[in-house]
Structures are given as structure tokens and as C-alpha cells.
């Protein structure tokens, strides 16, 4: 699975995800990626793209959970991402990238690794795989 999230100079917040699914899938199985609010979601506060065990991500309504946690708790992007990955989902199930409307970036996982990268207009830049 691959994904990207971005906020631009006009404040547009966008999320996208694309995947081949899981090896050996049957019966027209559909994972979390195309389910809005699950593996892909964007609101007026945050854009989220997930990767990992699709069924777990769907059951947690992951993308929408992050957005709602930020809006209604209220919470920061980091708090919302940690809530999803550490309190809702179980270890080994998922990775997540997100940007909020202020340009804050969140990339984390409860697996041992995630191929990822991030960058912003202030020169912060990272490419990483493991912790």
C-alpha cells in the first residue's frame, strides 16, 4: 500500500491511498483503502492515509477516528495519532501518516517499520523505514 497526505498554501488538505491489497485475497475482498473514513480520510482539520491490516483498520474507522478525536476532544494531531495506534489498534496492525491544517506532520506505526517520508516548507525533511 502507498499513500500521501498534503496541505498546500491555500490550506487545502488532501489524502490519497492506493493498494494492490493482500496476497492470496479471495471473494472480491476489499480492504480499508477505498473505504472513506477508514484507510483514507480528510476533513477540515486533518488528512489521513493508513497502511497495514485492512480489516483492523476498517473496524476502528481509523481515519475518521483521528479526525473526530482532534475535533471533539479536542486534541493535537500527535495525541490523536497516538490514540489510534496505541489505544484503539493493537501492536503490529497499522501505520499512519497525517497532516493537519497547520502543517503539522504525523508518521508513526505500531509495526516495526513503515516506509515513509515527510517534508514541509520550513525545511524539515525525513525519509525513514524503522523507528
Amino acid at each position: 500500500t502507498v499513500g500521501a497526505v498534503a496541505v498546500d498554501k491555500d490550506g487545502q488538505i488532501v489524502a490519497g491511498t492506493s493498494t494492490g491489497g493482500m496476497t492470496n485475497k479471495k471473494f472480491g475482498r476489499v480492504g480499508d483503502v477505498p473505504i472513506i473514513g477508514s484507510g483514507t480520510y480528510a476533513s477540515d482539520v486533518v488528512a489521513v492515509s493508513m497502511t497495514g491490516w485492512g480489516e483492523k483498520i476498517m473496524r476502528a474507522v481509523s481515519g475518521h477516528t483521528v479526525s473526530s478525536y482532534m475535533k471533539y476532544k479536542p486534541a493535537s494531531l500527535e495525541e490523536a495519532g497516538d490514540y489510534l495506534l496505541q489505544e484503539v489498534l493493537n501492536p503490529g496492525e497499522a501505520g499512519m501518516i497525517a497532516v493537519d491544517k497547520y502543517g503539522n506532520i504525523y508518521t508513526d506505526m505500531n509495526t516495526n517499520g513503515m516506509f515513509r517520508g515527510s517534508s514541509d516548507s520550513e525545511g524539515n525533511r525525513e525519509v525513514a523505514i524503522w523507528d
Binding site: S18, G20, P34, M114
Partner: protein
């Protein structure tokens, strides 16, 4: 911040026990994908374009499970899913089970921009692809040897096991391809 961007190429049990050259190749590809998005946003381009083009690059890269390099289904095919959403307007477009669309994220964006609906599936998504004119390919385009071998191992294990479809990649696949062991998708 004027702009910000993040990307991923899958998560899972990623082995660190691989040659440095292989690790570096992944880092280089992620760096290239990031640069594509950075250039668009730094030039004043839209987040929509940045997200689509970054994902297009990753879809075209056989190292990642999307587009070329997608995993195989039980029937030896490739079925691709994609989604695109703009938060400010709550517009969204998604496709699932497409088999001949080279870049599913581009079709998902077109669903969002040109359709009154949110999701198209399988044959319907293919027909919508005909209508909007995205690039098409044969199933062979998506083939990679490593993914084919991963399917054969999964089928072998299934035959030896309880017959249930597993949501996890078989244990032996963890060493089949760098970082591919439990890249669930």
C-alpha cells in the same frame, strides 16, 4: 507552514537484515517520491496534484504494493483499490477491484472530480475508466516475479493448513522480499 507533505509505502514487519544496497534503493525511491511532491508544493501547486503525483510514482515503482508490483489474488490476478479525498470540501472518490487501470489513484481523483458518486467497483469502475480516459494496461503489466513467488508460497501453505484465508502473509514470506513479509496492504 505554507505547505506540508507526508507519504508512506507500506508498513509491517520489515526486516533490517538485508544488504545495504537494497536498503539504500528503498531510501532513494522514497526520497524521489518526496521530491516530486515537494517540487509541486514549493512552486505553489495544489495538494491535490502533489498527492496524486507522489502516489503515481509509487504506483509505477515495482517495490511497492500498488500499481506495478501489486500482489496477486488467489486467482492469480491483480485487483487494485484507491481513494482520494479533499478535506476542506469533503469531496471524495474511490475505486475498488480495478484490473486494467495503470494508476488507480488518478481514476479515484477523476471519480471525485467528475462524478456525483463516491465509489465505483470492479466492472463499473472499469467502465468509468473508459469514460474518463485514464491510461489502461494489461494484467501482465502489474506482474513481478517476487509477488508471483509469494502467491505460490501462500497457496502451498493454504493447502497444507486449514484452508482458511489468512489476513497475514505466510511466515516464510517474511524473507521473500525485502520488507514484503508483512506488508499487509
Amino acid at each position: 507552514k505554507e505547505w506540508a507533505l507526508a507519504l508512506h509505502g507500506g508498513a509491517g514487519a520489515i526486516s533490517e537484515d538485508r544488504p545495504d544496497s537494497v536498503k539504500q534503493a528503498y531510501f532513494d525511491d522514497l526520497d524521489e517520491a518526496l521530491t516530486i511532491g515537494e517540487d509541486i508544493l514549493a512552486d505553489g501547486g495544489s495538494a491535490e496534484d502533489a498527492v496524486e503525483k507522489v502516489i503515481n510514482y509509487l504506483e509505477d515503482n515495482p517495490r511497492f504494493n500498488a500499481g506495478k508490483g501489486a500482489v496477486f489474488t488467489h486467482d492469480g490476478e491483480h485487483e487494485l483499490d484507491a481513494a482520494f479525498m479533499v478535506g476542506n470540501t469533503r469531496e471524495a472518490g474511490t475505486v475498488t477491484g480495478v484490473k486494467t487501470v495503470k494508476n488507480p489513484i488518478t481514476l479515484a481523483r477523476k471519480v471525485m472530480e467528475t462524478s456525483e458518486h463516491v465509489m465505483f467497483a470492479t466492472e463499473g469502475a472499469e467502465r468509468y475508466a473508459d469514460k474518463v480516459g485514464v491510461e489502461r494496461v494489461d494484467q501482465e503489466y502489474f506482474y513481478t516475479e517476487s509477488r508471483y513467488e509469494a502467491l505460490q508460497r501462500a497457496l502451498d501453505q493454504e493447502e497444507e493448513g486449514d484452508g482458511k484465508q489468512s489476513s497475514l502473509i505466510p511466515e516464510e514470506d517474511k524473507t521473500a522480499l525485502y520488507a514484503d513479509g508483512e506488508k499487509y496492504g
